[in-house]
Amino acid sequence: MDPNQAPVENYANPKTCLFHVLFKGAALAFYILSALFFNSFVIIFVVTVLLAALDFWVVKNVSGRILVGLRWWNEIDDLGESVWKFESLDQESLARMNKKDSWLFWWTLYLAAAAWFILGVFSLIRFQADYLLVVGVCLSLNVANIIGFTKCKKDAKKQLQQFASQTIASRFQSTVQSAFTLV
């Protein structure tokens, strides 16, 4: 044991991290390796897209919540307008989030999208329109998650800043007013 080594923070949610990576990796691996085993495009398509869809659901509903405390969805309000809703844990819980978890979350998201993009370029070069279809679907699912979570994170930061400045402002106001009443 190296005495100078700082204690390494472990993953706080290893099982969730595993699932987060599992479906992404499985989809990519299946797509790449399947040409060796299966002749049928249908099976490749269905399994890959199914794995990508499962991954989308897991990231959006489970690992987003648990690893980085963010959530996004779309609702249609009473006026019939579409509204994007973002939800995040409060400041204290966000600060308590495991750094390794969130690093893993964001980086695997970006890497998976990049990998699908590269695969898409390959199939474009080879003029395989049907494989391009598969890649297109998987890429769009990944990109949707990236956009959703990035927007959510930005809004969380903005909201926290607003909240903080508001608290300061209202405290100041009330202190001033109570000072006047006491006078």
Partner: protein, 272 residues
């Protein structure tokens, strides 16, 4: 939480300072669309507590109100309602969508698929109000139905299975997108994903028809089944699409939908 129209839990007499502070905290919480809420209680679907802020899209803001500064020496404040537990207990016990168990999310999504299917495809009292039709749209149902239809067609085909599947999938997916764009370009008012979702759910009857045709290979039977299911699909899609556009353009919006379902019907009949 808007203090203006809810009855304070404590019959405290509000001084002027309290009123001003409450007004300030209300204005501060008129959040914009898309802004983030601290963790709040579940059911993002339907509100249970009426809130006065009709301008804000947040119909259910079960937030604890901005906590009044505790250092103030003024009269006792209206304290927050006990409904949501404090957000700092986010990780464990708070019953909100951010910390619910995974199984709950799964159940909620599955229940939504089933209810959407029932709303769209089967006769029910809400049908004439298309805005309500797919309020909680989701794309899982359509995804499953499109893939299932492609698989069924591919299974029934004796040759060129892959092409059949790819064509069916691409036709349905691209068709749904184009039909939605068609309505939008005709000056109609629909929401993109809601319409995709609806067109996908309306494939359910054709799915059933395709399964029946797969099992029995009689041409006459196939034609009857396809005609019936085609009519059912069109009937399911009609109220939503027609209500979305100007009445004079109804036919322009509906004709492509019908055309798409007819072409899928032909695919089903022709495959052997």
């Amino acid at each position: 939480m808007s203090h203006n129209d809810t009855i304070p839990l404590y019959q405290s007499s509000q001084s002027d300072i309290d009123e001003i502070e409450n007004m300030m905290s209300n204005n501060g919480f008129q959040s914009n669309p898309g802004s983030v809420l601290p963790a709040r209680p579940p059911s993002p679907t339907r509100p249970s507590i009426p809130v006065s802020s009709s301008s804000s899209p947040f119909v259910q803001s079960n937030l604890p109100p901005l906590p009044p500064p505790s250092s103030s020496a003024a009269a006792p404040k209206v304290t927050p309602v006990p409904a949501p537990p404090p957000p700092s207990s986010g990780f464990g016990s708070a019953p909100n969508t951010l910390t619910e168990p995974v199984w709950d999310t799964v159940k909620r999504d599955l229940a939504r698929i089933v209810s959407n299917l029932k709303l769209v495809v089967f006769p029910n009292p809400n049908r004439e109000d298309p805005g309500k039709a797919l309020r909680d749209w989701d794309l899982w149902g359509p995804f499953f139905f499109i893939v299932f239809l492609g698989l069924t067609l591919s299974w029934s085909a004796s040759v060129k299975k892959s092409e059949v599947f790819a064509v069916a999938f691409a036709l349905l997916a691209a068709g749904a997108v184009i039909l939605t764009l068609n309505v939008l370009l005709l000056g109609g008012h629909i929401i993109f994903f809601q319409s995709l979702s609806l067109l996908g759910y309306c494939l359910f009857p054709l799915d059933v028809g395709a399964v029946i045709c797969m099992l029995k290979d009689n041409v006459i039977l196939k034609m009857i089944v396809v005609t019936v299911t085609l009519a059912w699909s069109s009937w399911a899609a009609y109220p939503f699409m027609s209500a979305a556009v100007n009445p004079r353009r109804k036919a322009l919006a509906l004709y492509p939908v019908f055309l798409m379902y007819v072409s899928v019907g032909f695919l089903i009949i022709a495959i052997d």
